[in-house]
């Protein structure tokens, strides 16, 4: 039996559900649109890239799994073509609009999902002014009646622009040129940022730039790159920061000065492409997060009992499907480009890899079955 078949037999025990799709191109974007659809987009340079709005098969979007859902395929609801590579894509909530970013980062592209057809049309652009290849601006959306687009390549260029009038609503106004790695809107007025250097902070847009910050990711951080996500559920710290060497820090937003814990995840090597580093909190599970961007796996951790600094931790679950089901013969094995949690199926994760595969998996909690 070939390794793929071996692994599939093994997968009967590991997953409740497992689906593998083959996209027309690899994606770094898995953006939810409503709770039944996702957006994916190609990131190849010098090529037309597809942006697709896919509808999940019913069995993956029903809240309670009752009845027969023979359909297992994604349906392409809308599609469009981008002349640039798409590295970041955000859906503007309650609208049919999307904002994309990617190199060359001289502007953000605004798109619209057509109502009367299946086409995604480019509708406008948002100027970024500074152009610093290979850097490109990170994007996040302030949802409201007049949605604001938060974007920036460096801390100094951070601003919020009104999507419709294109007026600048907020600028950081600092001369700090730390390069941004992630941006996340937390509520109507606040957002979180993380720099490649590991510096992270929470910003209130109603005030002048005075973020509550964590400046130092600890000793020996030179050369490492970082990303972060806020939003952990449960009583513990709710900000996670992931380094390209597998170091994972948990921070309490009320006191960012010192990380609550800092652990070493068992990654085989530092991330070969730190831009693909992802750390995400599970929306439906307490103290649970997933990381990817090191190799062909996605690791899931339960952070409940983490404390102190420097500990080695073991993942609760590791998804290896992208390695075993890879038919491309790529050497090395494909790299996971991004992953996202299902909004309400607690253990369901979607992950994409550089071989254009897209997996949807509902892992079985090994602790629950003990």
């Amino acid at each position: 039996m070939e390794p793929a078949e071996d692994w599939l037999v093994e997968s009967l025990r590991l997953y409740q559900d497992f689906h593998a799709f083959d996209l027309s191109g690899a994606t770094r974007v898995l953006e939810w649109i409503g709770d039944k659809g996702i957006l994916v987009a190609g990131y190849e340079s010098l090529k037309k890239n597809e942006i697709l709005h896919l509808i999940l098969p019913l069995r993956l979007s029903v809240k309670e799994n009752q009845g027969l859902f023979p359909e297992r395929d994604f349906k392409v609801q809308h599609g469009g073509f981008s002349d640039r590579s798409v590295c970041d894509l955000k859906h503007v909530p309650d609208t049919r609009l999307l904002v994309t970013s990617g190199p060359p980062g001289s502007y953000l592209q605004v798109w619209q999902l057509a109502e009367d057809s299946d086409v995604i049309r480019a509708v406008s652009t948002i100027d970024v002014h500074e152009r610093e290849e290979p850097l490109w601006p990170r994007v996040a959306i302030f949802p409201s009646v007049a949605p604001g687009v938060l974007h920036g390549t460096r801390l100094s260029s951070l601003k919020v622009v009104d999507l419709h009038s294109q007026k600048t609503m907020y600028t950081s106004g600092v001369s700090d040129d730390d390069v941004l790695s992630s941006l996340q809107v937390l509520d109507m007025d606040t957002f979180a940022f993380c720099c490649s250097s590991g510096r992270l902070g929470l910003v209130d847009t109603r005030q002048k730039w005075a973020p509550s910050e964590n400046l130092s990711p600890g000793p020996g951080s030179t050369g490492r790159q970082w990303c972060a996500e806020a939003g952990g559920r449960g009583p513990g710290p709710s900000i996670a920061r992931l380094g390209s060497d597998g170091q994972l820090c948990l921070l309490d937003p009320r006191d960012l000065c010192q990380p609550v814990s800092s652990v070493q995840c068992p990654v085989s090597m530092p991330s070969p492409e730190p831009e693909l580093l992802r750390v995400t909190w599970a929306p439906g599970l307490d103290n649970c997060l997933a990381i990817s961007g090191f190799d062909g796996t996605v690791q899931v951790y339960d952070v409940t009992s983490w404390a102190g600094l420097g500990r080695q931790v073991e993942p609760l679950f590791t998804h290896r499907g992208h390695i075993f089901l890879d038919d491309s013969g790529m050497d090395p094995a494909p790299l996971v480009t991004t992953h996202t949690w299902h909004p309400y199926k607690p253990r369901t994760v979607l992950s994409a890899a550089s071989d254009a595969s897209l997996h949807v998996w509902d892992w079985v909690d090994p602790c629950a079955s003990r």
Partner: protein, 662 residues
């Protein structure tokens, strides 16, 4: 201008009635003749009055082609040929020819005997219809008449499924249905020698770009048809991988067996059943499972019979297995005996028929339905009115006949009343048979539907278009508005036109047929003598005389043409007067013209003749005084039509005046 016209008559989708009318260079071909399984009135068959309102179908249609045995592609065939009336040839592959009548008869039984539908074809009509069928082999060019030829290509999908190429002269169409194209990366279908460019249509029913456990992947050569017709049903989907479908099947079977339940898998004798058996056998071996697996009697012989017949249609692995051993000599899978159904403990049974409308699968279902530990897995589509369709629609209480029904067309085996049945309120009496007790069966067992049907998705369709390199693509059975993106994608990637007609709407495609012209060796040698080798990327001007004789076109040199046709050459000269303001004498003027032309036309032979005139090739220039104005000289320029280009150039040159003498 020659054209190709295409009109889809069907309704598409899973239960649709595929039927497409194609007119190509004056020939009319009907592609598929499917039925709509969701209707039991007139709408179940295509509206054939579209084809011709007045005349006989046989006079109008040159042939009918059936892509594969699924009823949505062949279900209306006996109605069309025997009831509407068509006596022309019907082409299909040998497996389709063998399986199609079995399915038609099965369906007829359900529709007429069970549901009591009227205006339906009879068993005899199916037989009569099949007599009109001409079987075709893969890659065999079949000459329908002097001009119309067809050729079948492997489509995967189901046993015997084919894509068809239809060719009339230099025009052709390819028709494909959803099949398996070698879709996974690294598994692209083999490349064979390229066919010369032709105008033809590639017609495609269902096909599959991924090889599966018993069939190979669809394949077509670079036949560059004028048009490729394909279904759009799955064109906007991204398919879950086959492996995951299989995994899900194994998981369900395994879980049921582990908890001590029984699994019933109703199957049609062919195709997927073998595939699922191979899958389960491998899994049982690996997991060292002990629960017995059975397949119903009759299935073995039938399946083996057909598989032996059509072994070239299966994939290489199966072919190899067949050489080594009987396909159904499994280690873990044994023949089923009716008594086994009552045995305690877990088991898995494959039983026919696939839609639970009669026979062994229905008997076993009745026995096992009352136990929630058991499971039935329906691996395919079920026709309305069958038990399979009812349970798939979520029905949990079924009214069923409790005793044998005797009917001239349908003879169900004796049925018995198993435990777990509830006696219905009363009994009914059939006018033509014995008493039939109506019983209510409560379905407590788990019902699962797993589709293993192999269809090409968006990526597969793109691959097929890339392989065949058509000039135009036509997608049938879809909503144009929902496929605008796909159209853009096809048009951008392959730089072809993509059409999406609605049912009943005709698309007319102008075609530009290639006309082969033979060039004489002499003419080619003359071209070669100029030292320029032909370059496919750079068009070049070539002068010659085109002779059209006996439907042949030849390009020869003018001398040869004159000689062949016995004609004398006529001289044709153009003349022009150029007025130049110059007071010098005519001889001096001619000398200046000579010097000027000699310096400008370095590659040509410029001569100054003793009579004072100047020649360049056939061009003659003479200088004369103006009769009224002594300050003006007239240059008389004349040339033959062969040197028209040079003559015009020289005239325009002289009109600009002569350079001042240094």
């Amino acid at each position: 201008m020659p054209e190709i016209r295409v009109t889809p008559l069907g309704a598409g989708q899973d239960v649709g009635r595929s039927c497409i009318l194609v007119s190509i260079a004056g020939k009319n071909v009907m592609l598929d003749c499917g039925m709509h399984m969701g209707f039991s009135d007139d709408r179940r068959f295509p509206d054939f009055s579209y084809i011709t309102r007045s005349g006989r179908l046989t006079d109008f249609l040159d042939c009918v082609i059936i892509s594969h045995f699924h009823l949505d592609h062949c279900g209306a065939l006996p109605y069309f040929s025997e009831m509407v009336g068509y006596d022309g040839p019907i082409y299909m592959t040998q497996p389709t020819q063998a399986i199609c009548p079995i399915l038609l008869e099965d369906y007829r039984k359900i529709a007429v005997d069970k549901k009591g539908e009227a205006n339906f074809f009879t068993s005899q009509m199916i037989k009569d219809c099949m007599k009109k069928v001409v079987a075709v082999h893969l890659h065999q060019t079949v000459q329908v008449d002097d001009e119309l030829e067809i050729k079948a290509y492997y489509a995967g999908h189901v046993l015997g499924a084919a894509m068809f190429q239809i060719k009339v002269g230099s025009e052709s169409v390819v028709y494909t249905v959803s099949g398996n194209l070698g879709h996974r990366k690294g598994c692209l279908v083999e490349e064979r020698e390229e066919a010369p460019p032709h105008h033809h249509i590639l017609c495609q029913g269902d096909y599959n770009m991924t090889p599966d456990r018993h069939l190979g992947a669809a394949w077509i050569d670079k036949c560059r048809p004028s048009l490729l017709i394909t279904e759009s049903t799955y064109a906007t989907t991204i398919r879950d991988s086959k492996r995951c479908r299989e995994r899900d099947f194994l998981k369900k079977v395994h879980e049921t067996v582990e908890r001590g339940g029984k699994v019933l898998i109703p199957v049609f004798a062919l195709g997927r059943a073998q595939e699922l058996c191979i899958l389960l056998e491998t899994f049982w071996e690996r997991m060292d499972l002990k629960a017995p697996i059975y397949f119903s009697t009759g299935l073995t012989e039938k399946a083996n019979h057909y598989y032996k017949l059509f072994i070239p249609w299966t994939n290489q692995k199966i072919r190899k297995t067949f050489v080594q051993r009987n396909m159904f000599e499994f280690k873990h899978i044994k023949a089923f005996d009716r008594a086994f159904a009552d045995s305690p403990g877990p088991m898995v049974v494959f039983a026919t028929p696939g839609m639970l409308h009669a026979g062994q699968s229905l008997q076993i279902f009745r026995k096992w339905a009352g136990n929630e530990k058991n499971m039935v897995i329906m691996p395919g589509y079920c026709v309305q009115g069958t038990v399979g369709h009812k349970i798939l629609s979520g029905q949990r209480k079924l009214e069923m006949e409790g005793r044998q029904v005797v009917s001239p067309h349908l003879s169900l085996p004796a049925l018995w009343i198993p435990l777990g049945w509830v006696e219905a309120l009363g009994t009914t009496t059939c006018a033509d048979g014995p008493h039939t007790a109506m019983l209510q069966l409560e379905v407590k067992m788990q019902v699962e539907y797993m589709s293993f049907s192999a269809h090409a998705d968006a990526k597969g369709i793109m691959q097929l278009v890339g392989q065949a390199e058509p000039e135009n693509v036509l997608l049938v059975h879809g909503e144009a508005k929902k496929m605008e993106f796909l159209k853009q994608k096809i048009e951008q990637e392959f730089r072809v036109n993509c059409y999406m007609p609605a049912n009943g709407e005709t698309v007319t495609l102008p075609t530009s047929p290639s006309i082969p012209v033979g060039i004489s060796l002499g003419l080619l040698k003359r071209e070669m003598a100029q030292g320029l080798l032909p370059d496919a990327k750079k068009p070049r001007l070539l002068h010659g005389t085109l002779i059209m004789k006996d439907s042949n076109f030849r390009l020869v040199s003018s001398e040869q043409a004159l000689k062949e046709l016995g004609l004398a050459e006529h001289q044709l000269r153009f003349t022009c007067r150029v007025h130049l303001h110059d007071t010098r004498k005519e001889q001096e003027m001619a000398m200046r013209v000579y010097n000027h032309l000699k310096s400008v036309l370095k590659d040509h032979c410029v001569q100054h003749l003793p009579d004072g005139s100047v020649t360049v090739e056939s061009i003659l220039v003479q200088a004369a005084a103006h009769s009224e104005d002594p300050g003006t000289k007239v240059l008389l320029v004349s040339w033959t039509y062969q040197d028209e280009e040079l003559g015009s150039y020289l005239t325009s040159l002289l009109k600009k005046g002569l350079p001042q003498a240094s």
